[in-house]
Symmetry: D2
């Protein structure tokens, strides 16, 4: 933490701050320039969270230098973490391909989807049972029955399954049916939910909030990890910007940024970023080229009849095309699928 003093600060102002830091067991390094005075705080800055230095007389601003997350940081595990879900490993050489419909609608639909994506080569099956929807009048998901149907589809095809949880009360039930929990973008800062999935041993796919910085996202991962669950996989799924040509703007730069700052695997969701089937493939390939550890793609046996997000779901054939090109791109960047 750097404390920048006002131009007209007095010697007393500076002394008071140094005194305060001392009370917190921290040291101070004074840097008196021609135009301004700067105080470097020495020691563990977490002690300072309640000190409110910005309000001290003579202070212009405080500039944080360190991250607030620790377990999620790259420093902690410089070689990178891996996360295992069934027989699948995130963060290894293989790019993990997750696919399935937006929502589990009925047993036949999810089974057909599972068989379709399995035949193409997907490694995990996705399907939403608890659906957070913007309007209360939209289809709200098949909930517990949906999870059971998803599990059956996973079992029949030998695919581990991932599904979104939106409330900690669902965890005890969902744990019996899911190999991986997804935390959706809207719940990225639902801290109670984060803590509770942190108390399960179930790996977590943590989507980035629509308006969250990478730093806030890593802080959210830290909530899960600080409860003892380090099986967190990050998922970039597009952020909200002024551009309306796509549903969201895929922030593909998040892949190298996360790689630099965090040890956690990161995958890309081109479907929610695009919001339109025609753009899903190019965004998926961009994600792999940028170094993503996996892709989560919405695939529906018959998108025209989908109960939600119809416009962005691929047919199994379109997914097969994406899959084979993604495999080529993966090879081009030294990975495989």
């Amino acid at each position: 933490m750097i404390i920048v003093m006002k131009k007209n600060c007095t010697r007393d102002h500076v002394e008071n701050i140094i005194q305060l830091l001392k009370e917190y067991g921290l040291g101070a390094n004074l840097s008196t320039g021609s135009q301004t005075t700067i105080i470097g705080v020495l020691g563990d800055k977490t002690k300072l969270s309640d000190a409110n230095l910005e309000l001290m007389d003579g202070v212009e601003k405080c500039v944080p230098i360190m991250h607030s997350y620790k377990l999620a940081s790259r420093d902690m595990v410089p070689e990178g973490r891996t996360v295992r879900v069934g027989n699948v490993t995130f963060g290894a050489k293989k790019v993990v391909m997750i696919a399935g419909p937006c929502a589990v609608e009925n047993q036949e639909q999810i089974l057909k989807a599972a068989e379709g994506v399995k035949a193409v080569g997907a490694a995990l099956l996705r399907g939403g049972a608890y659906k957070p929807r913007t309007s209360p009048y939209s289809f709200q998901g098949t909930e517990e029955e949906g999870l059971k149907m998803l599990r059956r589809a996973g079992d029949e095809t030998g695919l581990p399954v991932v599904s979104e949880v939106t409330d900690h009360e669902q965890l005890a039930f969902a744990e019996q049916y899911c190999d991986m929990f997804q935390i959706g973008a809207r719940n990225m800062q639902n801290f109670r939910l984060l803590r509770e999935v942190g108390r399960t041993g179930v790996p977590v796919l943590l989507k980035r909030g629509i308006a969250s910085t990478v730093e806030e996202w890593l802080d959210a991962a830290e909530y899960i990890m600080s409860e003892g669950n380090c099986g967190v996989v990050l998922c970039e799924r597009g952020i909200r910007t002024f551009e309306t040509a796509t549903r969201n703007t895929l922030d593909v730069s998040a892949v190298p940024v996360v790689r630099e700052r965090s040890s956690l695997p990161i995958i890309v969701d081109p479907s929610h970023a695009a919001g339109k089937a025609a753009y899903v493939e190019p965004l998926a390939l961009a994600g792999v080229a940028a170094g993503a550890d996996g892709l989560i793609v919405e695939v529906h046996p018959n998108p025209k009849q989908a109960l939600s997000d119809a416009a962005q779901q691929l047919t199994v054939d379109a997914y097969a095309s994406l899959f084979h090109k993604a495999a080529e791109v993966a090879r081009a960047v030294g990975r495989e699928i």
Copy 2:
């Protein structure tokens, strides 16, 4: 709903869509222009949520014409709704002044804050007990004890109290202590929580999500109202933009936009928008001038010792200055405080 056809669409494409609409009990109005064909959908479009017209062959795009919210819309109550909390009414001539600390820290602090803002003239007391914090290592609130302390401070000063709830499990307890629930920006799309507060009879202060459009915000209000609780007051508290000079960007335009589209009262939170005490007063005055039905301002008996959001909390003296100027501005626009 308007369906815009592709330039090269065939007669069959158009026929298929008209046929599909028929199956949903809807009519179609064909508009064949020199450059494109447009189909207007006649009837209740909510039947269409599962029809996925965008994927039909020949379709360029669908343009929604109507809102998805009903109870929250202006049409429903053209003269505007009022919401009563204790002896206070939101949406009437009086601009409702809510004030208090970011967090309830201890009995003495909240009582001092309550006495301070009461003496100035505030109508409601605020104070956070359940604190959602970006980092798991920050102060997390005094929780149940905090609510009790808040209640006591409210009772001693005769002020109704409002406090944030972050989880539906808190409601049964919180209901005994709060006159109004606050749903914070991060939980604006925590749909389970919205539904559950909708099932209580407690008035709700619904903050706008940091990256939520006005439409999504009104959809969130609709979640609460569709459960039978129409006591919703909206609160603009700044949105996330590229500008970093302020913590968020106060979208003061939201006041007239909401006024036009919705019957619900809307207030302004200048403290979270500004993130800096020096900007709170001008933003508060701007909110009142734009027609806000109230202001919620963070006031702390000693901001330098605050456990959270220290930089944006006002002293009681600074609040008194804001209050008196706000009263002048309210009069200037035909309101009072």
Copy 3:
């Protein structure tokens, strides 16, 4: 400037930087914390623009501490600058009311507009002659003839006139007809144009770029001022965000932020921010309440026949209503109109 070193930086890395700073005639202040090392740069940092410290081995990042603008800064003229245009002063107690049509269309229209806004009480007349339009197929302005018509309307009503210049070649001509030049949002970083208006003695109304930070805006003002023209008035006119309910999002916080950082007067343009006549009045009042030194409002004698921006132009009657309420709000905050 603060240089934050990497955790694993060596003593040699630090020495190399101190050596480099020395070569630039700068001092270094070393702050070795438990977790990181920080180097404070002492002396005039402008010498460093070509030093590229971020690329030195061992450097994590550089954190700028000082602004790059000087003449535009508050420090330079702590009491604030005033800018005089004809008999009007920006930055004094009086809130300056500028009004007129988006575009000068013909002599009758601009004269009628001038008479209308003059009767209401406006102090300056606006009217665009050179119109920057998004599409090449839209109406492009009346150009030189427009300026002459504007001048005549100003002369007949006794109002000084302000009009946008979009190219430095227009200046010699425009200078004969305008009392104040406007630089539009799209040209805020047209540095050649900024320099050239800086070389005239004509006061400048500098609109904020649609995606420009306050810092970049003040840097743009500095371009004008560094050529000797300190008659710069800033104009907040809305920024681009994700919200589409308004044409742009009025960043009313920019008023107190600019007030704190800069000595230049700042006015508000509610018309371009709103993009819709119904929202112009509340945004105008918000601007005055927040402390703006003026308002520039689009007023057309017959908006339905306007050749551009029809939706956001007010009738003279609507302007009269806005004007009188703005006068009340001005009084409420210790100003007048």
Copy 4:
């Protein structure tokens, strides 16, 4: 164009609009639904730019259906346009590799850069001579001398050269030295400059404005094309969002969006998007994977001594690594370099 009427509009309101459309030689298609009335406008909507339908009584809003650009649209040349610069073709199978320093600093530097990137395999040389800089106190470019040095470096290495023009007065001179003009992000809506480069026969690299939508970008291209110059290559270089981990946010989705809407080639600039050398390679690969027709990358013989944008320029060695990986990715998506 679709006109959506207010719920409470009268029959007269509708009649008036139909009458007005008739006066403009346009037809109307009436669609009277259960909840609202919609009028489809039949005929050439460009006639309507001055009609201001939104202000007619009873009108809720107007929804545009067609683009305002024509020459830039995909419809015009469905198979896509190609743009030839020297012996290089944009929009063909080959991904065009442009490289060179941010700024031409001196003859030795630009020649060394040219030789370096030529040896790696680049097809075009870039180098800025007229530099638009945020602060007036930053290095402003070598201007005319710079262009001559760039030309010499291009001639000695056999590489065509591209350089930014910031003012139409530079064109006559620059035309003698450049094979392609670049219009920078800040000038994307400098309409005079667009028109003037449109009147030259020189191919244009048109960067996207930092806050411009794809639609506005294509409108800007239309300005150039409407003057007779169809040699426009679009360049995505990152947009401004709330995320600060990168200088800008690369909107890689713009590649498929432009491909769908426009016939113009599109390339990607990973350097300005990233703002940091370490992120340039992954973003470059993402661009190629998404289908970009080229890459423009900043390469400096010695980035540590660069006079501008030092942090984002690659060494020749780092560029060689990027180049070879990009070639692999290009092959993976059916292209070559």
